[in-house]
Amino acid sequence: MIQETLIPKVGVVTDIRKDTPDVKTFRVVGTDGKKLFEHMPGQCAMVSIPGVGECMFSITSSPTNKEYMEFSIKKCGCVTEVIHALEVGAQVTVRGPYGKNFPVEGEFKGKDLLFIAGGIGLAPLRSVINYVRHYRNNYGKVVIVYGARSKDDLVDIEEIKTEWMNEPNTEVYLTIDREQEGWDGHVGFVPAYVKELGLNPNMTAVLCGPPIMIKFTLAGLLELGFDKSRVYTTLELRMKCGVGKCGRCNVGDKFVCKDGPVFRMTELDELPDEY
């Protein structure tokens, strides 16, 4: 019978990493041990536990990883709670990829790139950052600003410390919201830190994190002279189908699942304020 996009594939969880008290990263492959499908940075997939529900997650691994896909998932609802209780070897269903990706093969090429993430907002950015690292010569300088509530809430800190911080022509700035024992790095909210850093406004910026962080960080970037048409973010709304048919994830005449989740700030300006 003809293929149906809403019918998923079976995936096997081959590794689980506990990143923070409420974030785990799940490695998933097909039942044949191979990667389920190809994607581009910023795209998402529907992961489901039959009988519990299906949710959209960004694919946090880079497309350059040809062996498996990873999803960093925060425990915050009825489906993610069950996903967090999974053990290695468990099966889930996966379908995708959905949505538009970051223009890594378009506007990003040859540009200096600034990545700003808050909390679990690192998940979609990790895919782009590792893609850029893989094709390092195609891009200019990379600056990463990443903040979380506490040092224990920084997702995938091992990779950041051992790999990102040692990458040539790359600067990584970490911050946490409040003073904490065992943390000698920067303390303060992301928007303020971004302003303090006095970043070069000619960079192309990508913001991902809670709406309040995006709002204030964007305001800060504009003050620094950044051009809105070169600032990108991702949106997240409730989804069921992933292909622009079930009718719930629209903002104005755009569906986040199909026309997003990656949006340019100038595109968002044209849409009604309902996200």
């Binding site: 019978m1 003809i2 293929q3 149906e4 996009t5 809403l6 019918i7 998923p8 594939k9 079976v10 039959p50 009988g51 519990v52 529900g53 299906e54 915050c76 609802g77 009825c78 993610t80 070897g89 468990a90 099966q91 889930v92 269903t93 997240e236 709304l237 409730r238 069921k240 189908c241 292909v243 622009g244 048919k245 079930c246 009718g247 719930r248 994830c249 629209n250 903002v251 104005g252 005449d253 044209e270 009604p272 309902e274 996200y275």
Partner: protein
């Protein structure tokens, strides 16, 4: 053009039913809806508005999509789709036919929704032209001519005859199937009926609704219109309008645990419900005003913006008749768009 005497219609239905399924407006428990035809059923072709539109022929109110068998860690996915037997959808009015075209643009757009497509391709649509439009009708506002030839076959009911005209290949095939029952006609009776109906259409109370303001370029201005607050105040969020609407296509996907596995099904959903957009971390449409606005903005601005100006309302008037609070799209158009002088 062909015709068949009204008293022979049962023979026509029986003939179709020999080789295909036949769905037709049938009166059951006081309500007329599309049901499977059978001998002795009370067919009511004349009923202008079935309670539910025929959209559930292609997009059922609930349908199984797949099954999961789980054993230990293992999940097995079983495709629940099956080949659909060809069927005839008989007696569809112009508004409901145009509504199917609106749904086609959603479900048949890439990636194609095969659940819808399989039913749609199995269907031959026989429309029935309107000769007695009701006061709640306003299809002409959306450029629909309810006397015109839509569908695979168009029929007109006039005097003692049903007149018949094939428009497509599928329609020709159906015409040959029932050919023995049809006799040739010169089309004069149909022309006369069309003229008479058009005079009625011009006088309908909602015929002058002005859509000119509902354009994609006015999206933000309309979204921010202060009138939404007052217009939506009485809305109960019951979702009746979305369920009787022939173009409403929002759906939910849910899992149902059975004794030996899980059935994943989809069912109609409604943008009028508060949990439609509810997420673990919040709700993008928190108030009934936002949900009310979403429904009408979608029909009059968002959908047209995505589909070359085609409105996602066909003026069938079901919401006008069924809303318990007497809210409807007519009031929205009047308030925000006004009426032509």
């Amino acid at each position: 053009m062909f015709r068949i005497a009204k008293e022979k219609l049962n023979e026509l239905y029986a003939k179709i039913n020999e080789s295909m399924g036949l769905y037709i407006p049938i009166k059951k428990a006081g309500e007329v809806n599309y049901h499977v035809w059978g001998e002795g059923k009370e067919v009511s072709l004349e009923t202008l508005k079935t309670v539910k539109s025929p959209k559930n022929m292609f997009f059922p109110q609930t349908e199984d999509m797949m099954k999961f068998k789980t054993e230990g860690n293992n999940i097995e996915i079983i495709d629940a789709r099956f080949e659909k037997r060809p069927f005839v959808l008989f007696g569809v009015k112009a508004c409901d036919y145009k509504a199917i075209e609106v749904l086609d643009k959603v479900f048949l757009a890439e990636p194609v929704d095969t659940f819808y497509q399989m039913r749609r391709e199995a269907t031959t649509i026989v429309t029935l032209a309107c000769s007695k439009p009701e006061e709640s009708c306003f299809c002409t506002v959306f450029g629909i001519d309810p006397t015109a030839a839509y569908g695979d076959v168009t029929t007109w009911l006039e005097g003692e005859y049903l007149y018949w005209q094939a428009n497509t290949e599928k329609g020709e095939a159906l015409t040959s199937l029932v050919g023995g029952l049809l006799e040739a006609d010169n089309g004069n009776a149909v022309e006369a009926q069309k003229e008479a109906t058009k005079k009625v259409l011009e006088k309908l109370p909602f015929a002058a609704l002005d859509l000119s303001r509902f354009k994609p370029e006015n999206l933000n201005e309309l979204f921010n219109a202060p009138e939404w607050q007052e217009m939506s105040e009485a809305c109960l969020g019951c979702g009746t309008c979305t369920f009787v609407c022939p173009t409403c296509q929002c759906f939910d996907i849910r899992d149902f645990k059975t004794n030996n596995g899980v059935i994943r099904y989809r069912c109609w959903d409604s943008c009028m419900y508060s949990d439609f957009t509810l997420m673990a971390h919040g709700n993008s449409r928190n108030t009934q005003m936002q949900r009310f606005r979403q429904r009408f903005m979608h029909k009059l601005v968002y959908y047209p913006s995505q589909n070359d100006g085609l409105y996602s309302c066909v003026g069938c008037g079901r919401c006008v008749n069924k809303c318990p609070q007497r809210l409807n799209i007519v009031k929205v158009i009047k308030t925000l768009g006004g009426e032509k002088k």
